[in-house]
Symmetry: C2
Subunit: 366 residues, 2 copies
């Protein structure tokens, strides 16, 4: 599978140039507010002396790394603050492949399109393991696909685009498979704060030198544009990852790191719970309308997305454009995430107009 | 030459744990204030609606790219906003090497240590061309080193660590050599606003499909921690660079880009001139003291650095530590920049205590 840069952009461009009102359910940008402490942190930073405007430590502000380490129960030396989850995944996959223990990367189908793109850029080869209809991954299928050639296994739970949350047994098994084949499990947990099922399990819960956990504050603090993420490495892999981070980016952006630190320190758990509750309501509203439209769909256990299938309406780019023009709702074509979902459309529930969108779809398809 | 991550840090760590007052002349962090409009931009951004906190375009805020394009006289499509000059150089060198027109990278000696580090990370091989005593690069030497194997030529003017500013003829010749050998000239111009000689020439002045210009606002706006830079690509190379940028970082940090845009729009040329004037005074103060200490030195035509050689005091890490302990001045060992300067020490003039440092050195060595 090729990485197609322009697809998200082509859909959003088409939607914004449409001759009618269109509800944007394309991007994964939260539409709710970041916590107040984040804005306060930026204001505070803006008035600091000029020394605070200079290079932060390459691996991130020390206090931010300490805060992350304390929350995740790891040693601060294992934490590298990155330019969002995007760079965290890049560093993790590069580290896995540089070990020369196999150049094959096991990915899921459907897949978040950046993973195959990064694999190719890093000189690895892609191998896909099909998730089931609900988006769950059967570790037995992963084991069947694994071999001496496997350098990395990349998973994402809560999942984009399926909404699946992998149970603890799956995560344990995936770590075991990585150990068995001397591969690295890269566990992208960027939607961890949007676990609606209560059964999210982090790969950090399984002690191992064969897993790297990536994450970011992009979704949890509703700041996809700040680019503050992190990766947690096993001790023997962190040094080389730190070097690559330095050679690529020197350091991350300090105002963003400072504001995130303030937000982490001062934001009440109620903030996160309120956002989950909002999502739960939107899931209910949207899936009710899909029922009314006679569509098949997945009810997400986490993340922001609903995959839906309408009769005789495959998830092609052409049909996405048609839905924009004729129903005024913009989603993503399912085939952007792999062949297995080519009959489906992905709708992101990050718009206050979910109810209206649902009504439009119900009207259009019924 | 290996990239040595910890060297800067080891020196700074040693200096900060020293048992006495030490003047830091190690880092390249400006000690003067960023423009007022930058702080105002951050404040303004902090109060925007939450949509402004989400992903900027991957290649940078449109208005920022337009501002850069207008200032540099290029098409906006050629501009990619990066995470500082560090990422800009990484993207430029990756692009040059991916063309499969040679895997050798011509670098200068002395060299800014990140370039050889990036070369190795990208799978290229290093070949060094000696600069003369003043830091000037003779294009004839570059031509003699160039071959079918040459994929990239990486230069930096105004130069770190020599302070040399290459004249227009040098830049023209370097572009011609890149064309001749189907290589890419990567021209890192991050110190362009600190040209003290008035003869700085940008590689953009030479029209060619064989040069990439990199830059950042880190030094010009005194914000090394913001990580906003850019690269200007020939039209046929920009698309692939944009993809790599997206696959590595997704996008740069938006609060930083927003503040930089405000600063560019609202900062008077007098801001930049005042900083140059400050540097000129510091150069004079510092080199006077070096004369008094009987040292050899280079008078910088640009950038922040003075290279100095003291009798029987080679530029080793050991001697840098000794100078910290015995004179209370921290510089960088010259051998960090290549063998040719192993007898020298580099002092960064980005401290308000330049005069005091100069006096300490004069006293210590005389």
């Amino acid at each position: 599978m090729e990485y197609e840069t322009p697809l998200f952009f082509r859909v959003m461009q088409y939607a914004s140039s449409a001759d009618r009102d269109v509800i944007d359910m394309v991007s994964g940008n939260p539409d709710w507010d970041p916590p107040a402490a984040l804005r306060e942190g930026l204001h505070e930073y803006a008035d600091l002396e000029s020394a605070a405007f200079q290079y932060p430590p390459s691996d991130g502000l020390r206090e931010l790394r300490e805060e992350i380490a304390a929350r995740r129960g790891v040693d601060v030396e294992q934490v590298v603050v990155t330019n969002g989850a995007g760079e965290a995944n890049y560093l993790a996959m590069a580290r896995a492949l540089e070990r020369d223990r196999g150049d094959e990367v096991l990915l899921t189908d459907p897949v978040y399109p950046y993973y195959p793109g990064k694999t190719t850029m890093l000189g690895g080869t892609q191998r896909f393991v099909a998730a089931d209809e609900d988006g769950q991954l059967d570790p037995a299928d992963v084991r069947a696909a694994a071999s001496e050639r496997t350098g990395a296994i990349v998973v994402n739970s809560p999942n984009n685009p399926t909404g699946a949350v992998y149970p603890e047994e799956t995560i344990e098994e995936l770590v075991a498979i990585a150990e068995e084949y001397d591969a690295i499990l890269v566990s992208d947990e960027v939607y961890d704060h949007y676990d609606l099922s209560g059964r999210f399990a982090s790969a950090l819960e399984v002690e191992s030198d064969h897993r790297i956990v990536t994450n970011a504050f992009s979704k949890s603090l509703a700041i996809t544009g700040f680019r503050v993420g992190y990766a947690i490495f096993p001790r023997d892999l962190v040094e080389a990852a730190r070097s690559r981070h330095m050679l690529v980016n020197v350091a991350g952006s300090r105002p963003a790191q400072y504001a995130v630190l303030q937000a982490l320190r001062e934001t009440d758990p109620a903030y996160y719970e309120a956002n989950r509750e909002l999502l739960r309501e939107r899931v209910a509203t949207f899936t009710d309308a899909l029922d009314a439209a006679g569509a098949e769909y997945t009810t997400p256990e986490g993340s922001f997305y609903v995959l839906a299938r309408f009769e005789d309406y495959p998830g092609t780019l052409e049909n996405v454009f048609r839905l924009i023009d004729e129903a005024g709702v913009a989603g993503m074509p399912g085939d952007a995430f792999g062949e297995s979902r080519s009959d489906w459309l992905r709708f992101a529930l990050v718009t206050p107009r979910v109810e209206e969108a649902a009504e439009r779809l119900a009207t259009y398809f019924s």
